[in-house]
């Protein structure tokens, strides 16, 4: 009886977080996940809904970031999400100067890993047999 009611409760929660059961406003915010939403585990959907509930309080720039990162975030493994949260908490615990230094290091690393952009357009390669300019 207890097991049955537990299963029924879980099933009810599962149905309540199905894409078609969401409010239009929720669907609009979570639109980047529309295609994969029903395939996500119910616990993850609940959590994303809890995060989505904070959307109205976000600044316009934060809203853009939120929607841009949503799909990538949902595709991470559980272990990756845990690691990201732990590192986020560790960063927030650091003094502002150390936090800024780590962010600077990250930016430098990102710039170094980006492909070099040519400052001037490279000259067109002359066809074979054509006289070389001199």
């Amino acid at each position: 009886m207890l097991v049955w009611s537990g299963v029924a409760l879980a099933g009810g929660k599962d149905n309540a977080t199905q894409w078609q059961a969401l409010k239009p406003a929720q669907q609009a915010i979570l639109a980047p996940l529309a295609a994969q939403w029903n395939t996500l585990p119910p616990a993850q959907r609940e959590r994303l809904l809890a995060v989505e509930a904070r959307y109205p309080t976000m600044a316009p720039e934060a809203r853009q970031r939120f929607q841009a990162r949503l799909k990538n975030w949902a595709s991470l493994t559980k272990a990756e999400r845990i690691k990201a949260r732990e590192n986020y908490k560790k960063l927030k615990k650091l003094p502002p100067a150390q936090r800024a230094a780590i962010k600077r290091r990250w930016e430098i690393k990102q710039q170094a890993s980006e492909p070099m952009k040519p400052s001037m357009p490279s000259p067109p390669i002359p066809p074979k047999g054509a006289p070389s300019p001199s």
């Binding site: 990162r69 986020y88 960063l91 650091l94 780590i102």
Partner: protein, 127 residues
Amino acid sequence: MNEHDFSKKLVTLLDTDVNNISDKVALDLRAARHSAVAHAVSRQSSGVGRSGNLLHRHSWFSQHRTAVIGAVLIAVLLSVLGVWQMLPQPADDQAEIDAALLTDDLPVHAYLDNHFTQWLKNPSSEQ
């Protein structure tokens, strides 16, 4: 001679000897008796000291009972707080962190980067 007659004769002899005891032997016996009594008194008084110490401890606890109970309660409270901090966080806090991660000025993949993790472990080290 049976046993009863023998003891009667022995008691008579001993009584006769006590009456004929020399002054020196009487003084030695007296000194020995005083010494034995003094020893017995000192043992008794040390026993009283121990019980007195116990009484003192008991009265100390009575006087500081509130402080002792308070200290125990604080220790229990701190232990409970420690255990509570180690438990998984409520879903609300986790959602707060997820929302912050998704809107942070650093991208999510920064927090998954191994170098980034190392920098967090040694924030003051320059690589």
